[in-house]
Subunit: 140 residues, 2 copies
Amino acid sequence: MSMEGQDIKKAGLKITLPRLKVLEILEVSEQRHMSAEDVYKALLLMGEDIGLATVYRVLTQFEDAGLVSRLSIDGGHAVFELEDGVHHDHLLCVSCNQIEEFVDEVIEQRQRSIAIEKGFKMTEHSLYIYGICKQCQEKN
Amino acid sequence: MSMEGQDIKKAGLKITLPRLKVLEILEVSEQRHMSAEDVYKALLLMGEDIGLATVYRVLTQFEDAGLVSRLSIDGGHAVFELEDGVHHDHLLCVSCNQIEEFVDEVIEQRQRSIAIEKGFKMTEHSLYIYGICKQCQEKN
DNA sequence: ATGTATGCAAAACATTTGCACCTGG
DNA sequence: CCAGGTGCAAATGTTTTGCATACAT
C-alpha cells in the first residue's frame, strides 16, 4: 500500500479505490499532462471500472486540495498535472501536442508589476506559448 | 454605406447583411470584448433577425481574415475583439468580468527567448492575468 | 445563374449533475 | 451504521454542422 493515501486524507477526502487509482495513474503515467479522458482510458486499460464522471469529480477535488493543477489548453479541453509546488508555465507544440514546462522569474515579476499598475489584486495568471517543437520541425 | 464592406471583401467574403451587422456591433458596442452570444443579443436588440449559428460562422471567418481576434477565457467560452494590429495581452477581473489590456515588451521578449531556448518555433502565445480590479476591491 | 451564405434544428463535445445504490471508517 | 462516494444516464453550455432555402454578384 503506497503512501499517497495520506495526501487524500489530508484533503479531507475518504480514501477510496477510485481516488487511489486516479492518483496512481497520474504518478506512474509516462505523460505528465493528462485530460480526464486520458485518465479514464488509462484506468480502463488497468482493468479498473471507474466512471468518467467520477474521474472528473476526483480530479476537481484533487485540484481543490492542491494535489493537481488544471491547465486550460486554448479554450478547448482541460489537462491535469500533479502539483509539485513549483509554479511554472507551459510551451505547447501545436503539431504533436507535446507540452513542456518553464519557469521565468522575469516574466513573473513583470506580471506582478502590471497587475499593480492596473490596480488589480492578482489571483492567478496563465501563460501558454504555442509553437512547433524541435522534433516536429525536423520532421518536415 | 460605411467603409467596412471593404474589409469584408478583402477577406474574400461576400458583403452580406449579417456580416455587415456583426462588424457594426463590434465597432459601435461599448464593450470591446464580446462573446458570440453577446453579439447575437445585441443584434436582436437592433431588430436584426440573424441566427446564432451565423454569428459563430461570421466571427470565425472574421478571425481567419484577421479582422477580429478570439480570446479563450479560462477554458470556458470565447470572446472576440476587433483586431487593431497591436498585439496585447489581457487582465481579467474575476469578480466583474471586466477585461483590460496591456502591452509589455519585456514579457514579449522573454517569451521569444524561452521559445528559442526550448527549440520551439513560436507561432503564438496567450497570457491572462486574473485578479480583482480596483473598483471591485473598493466595493468590499 | 450559380456558388455562397443563411436559418433552423440537430449533433457534437467536454463537463456537470440528479439520483438510487454502494462503501469506507 | 450512515455520511459521503460512485455509476449511470440525463442535463448542460458552448460551438459546430447538415441541409434546404435565400441571396449576392
